[in-house]
């Protein structure tokens, strides 16, 4: 939720404004420079010329969470790292998205049973929008996850949630 969300009545100006804003957001998803383990190598491959994440407007890896829209959690999240990861997520401005890349971040992966130090899925720490399985995932898989994220952003709206009034009434009772 950012400053412009949830402000306009449905059908007022939002139809075209939605399209414009979603187009802008979709075409400039800036990820954070943030790699934790071997998945980060594949993420770097995605950023390099052969796979070229810049084709999707998401090649501007920012060195600070305050300029990023997307956190690609690429690699094993340990308990020691979890608090740092949560702090980085909290420092990102809205709207912000998270892609869990690789088996470790999806659910502990190879460390699920014997890894005393590994968080069993990064969704226990931060909310995740898309899961990209693989160990590590191919660069094409990460690009697929990015495209699904673009689909999600394209269907967002600035309109009030039509159910929010109903929910408020229910809560008032």
């Amino acid at each position: 939720m950012s400053w412009i969300d949830n402000r306009f009545e449905e059908g007022l100006i939002v139809t075209s404004l939605d399209w414009a804003i979603n187009w802008g957001r979709t075409s400039s998803i800036w990820p954070m420079t943030f790699g934790l383990a071997c998945c980060a190598i594949e993420m770097m491959a995605v950023g390099a010329s052969r796979f070229d994440i810049d084709r999707f407007g998401a090649g501007a890896f920012r060195a600070t969470p305050r300029q990023s829209d997307l956190m690609i959690v690429a690699g094993t999240v340990t308990y020691k790292m979890a608090s740092r990861l949560k702090r980085l997520y909290n420092q990102m401005p809205d709207p912000k998205y998270v892609i869990a890349m690789g088996a470790c971040t999806v659910g502990g992966g190879p460390y699920f049973k014997h890894g005393y130090h590994v968080v069993k899925g990064v969704d226990l720490v931060v909310p995740v929008d898309f899961y990209v399985p693989g160990c590590p995932p191919r660069p094409e898989a990460l690009l697929e996850g990015l495209m699904r994220l673009q689909d999600k952003i394209l269907h967002q709206t600035r309109a009030k949630d039509p159910m929010s009034r109903v929910r408020a009434e229910v809560l008032a009772k």
Binding site: Y79, K80, A82, S83, F112, K113, H114, Y116, H117, V119, K120, L124, V125
Partner: protein, 177 residues
């Protein structure tokens, strides 16, 4: 110098300080008493026949059946140009120190080989061996507030850490091998 000769010299110098010598291992080693380990370490580094000027690694062992912990120090004599006979030494040897699991105290050798400092911190972090007189014996890999020593054979997993649930399989807190 052959490992047999190193063992003979060590036994001659320290007598009871050397508990056992194992020569048929892939890397021969001597088991030494924990209270004489500092003197033996200094001897191994400074004696002209030894000149073990490099500590390659420290290995920690959990001997659960014997209720003991052990540390193995792998030594090597790096040739130093112009310093004594060590230009021709290039020898390997290992020292094993065994301690009781209930009070695992070993004197630190970080004053003798500075490389031991981080190795000993890691052995402390993972196995809980306490190295006395270490300049900074804190955990090196795990968070400072971690409970237990993860590589011990009877270690139990945490089921929760700072609010993050650690769902191991069937809620077991140790792996069933």
């Amino acid at each position: 110098m052959a490992p047999e000769e190193i063992c003979i010299i060590l036994t001659g110098e320290f007598g009871d300080g050397v508990v056992d010598t194992v020569l048929d291992a892939c890397r021969p080693y001597a088991v030494v008493r924990v209270d004489g380990w500092s003197d033996i370490a200094r001897f191994l580094r400074d004696d002209g026949r030894m000149r073990f000027n490099m500590l390659q690694c420290v290995t920690a062992l959990d001997l659960l059946e014997d209720n003991k912990l052990a540390a193995v120090y792998d030594l090597f004599s790096v040739p130093v140009v112009g310093v004594g006979p060590c230009a021709t030494l290039r020898q390997h040897f290992a020292i094993r120190v065994e301690v009781d699991r209930d009070a695992p105290h070993i004197p630190s050798v970080s004053g003798i080989w500075p490389a031991a400092e981080w190795h000993e911190r890691e052995a402390y972090d993972m196995m809980g061996i306490v190295f006395d007189d270490h300049p900074n014996l804190t955990r090196i890999l795990c968070p400072d507030d971690w409970e237990g020593y993860p590589l011990r054979k009877d270690y139990e997993f945490p089921l929760e850490y700072h609010g993050i649930p650690a769902t191991t399989e069937h809620q077991l807190n140790s792996p069933r091998h």
